[in-house]
Symmetry: C2
């Protein structure tokens, strides 16, 4: 009989508003009031959907991870070996405005995760999955002869992962408007190193 709201969709709306605030103004400005305003509500309206701010932030961060993982799945679908590895990395690298914004989200998340085991867990779980995926692609590429280095796949995957993480820092702290950071060249260079 009353107005009916899809709670799950509302939560996504609120998380998107949070995302925009953090990307535009930084996590310090992501107060409950500011988020509510951005979403078009009054401050108290968030309560029924996220009992505490921490719930909201944790959900928001998890959502960014999920979205990235879905994008990765879409881009690498049907690919294997070196091609899949390249697509994977290209999708994670902050090469356009949208993914630079994601870097501006994930860095505050890392900072919070330092003193919050639950959040650190979210990060580690995703990274474990990424490492496994990359090792898989490396093994395929090795079988296809595209990877011949004596360095083992676990080390290579670790290098690549840290390169991807470091690229988030580099991009997020680059001067406004600077698009070319050589990240694509670094990726191609790394893939070249694997075949020798």
């Amino acid at each position: 009989m009353p107005k009916i709201v899809d709670h799950d969709q509302r939560r996504i709306e609120l998380v998107d508003a949070t995302w925009r605030i953090i990307a535009r103004l930084g996590i310090e400005s992501a107060t409950m009031r500011e988020i509510a305003l951005e979403a078009g509500f009054a401050n108290g309206a968030l309560k029924p959907y996220f009992p505490t701010k921490d719930d909201l932030l944790t959900f928001a961060f998890g959502h960014v991870f999920n979205r990235t993982n879905e994008r990765i799945a879409g881009v690498t679908a049907g690919q294997a070996g070196l091609a899949a590895l390249r697509s994977f990395c290209v999708e994670v690298l902050p090469l356009d405005e949208e993914r630079i914004n994601e870097a501006r989200i994930v860095i505050p998340f890392w900072q919070k995760a330092i003193n919050d085991p639950g959040k650190a867990r979210i990060h580690r779980d995703s990274m474990e999955q990424w490492l496994a995926t990359m090792r898989q692609y490396l093994a395929e590429a090795r079988q296809a002869g595209a990877v011949t280095t004596a360095v083992d796949d676990a080390a290579l995957a670790g290098q690549l992962l840290n390169l991807l993480l470091g690229a988030q820092i580099t991009a997020a702290l680059a001067p406004e408007g600077q698009v070319e950071l050589g990240l694509n060249g670094q990726l191609e260079g790394f893939l070249t190193l694997l075949a020798c």
Copy 2:
């Protein structure tokens, strides 16, 4: 005639206290009161040495960068080429408790730098310097025949820098007590890749 305090040394003391708070409790706990307490003073005693909290934090972050750079200079002194490059990277990698603590400092710094051009500048200036140093070592190594890859030195230095930055994230978010993250193996593997 009155008690005399070395202002510069006092500033270092306060910055060290700040450093310890951030490493132990996180930057959210680094309030003026908490820092003063850690340094053994009452809250208002910081004022004459750092007019604002932002002054204190900016100075603290700059100090960590300087300390790292001094350590690097000490370790690479008298070295060149691949050996110097290795020493450089080993000194930056978070391989022991002290340098993992530095990772716990630098990540909050990065987060603040996202929305603070002045702090971003501090980061970029150091990174530019690091890149130049690494390119120099790579050129020397190439001349000595220890680097033979077709990938150019600028890309290699960029890869290595991002690997070092990413390693800070990996180490800072690793489960407490886990020391072995394979970072040294990754570095050795990368240096191996250069000679082929």
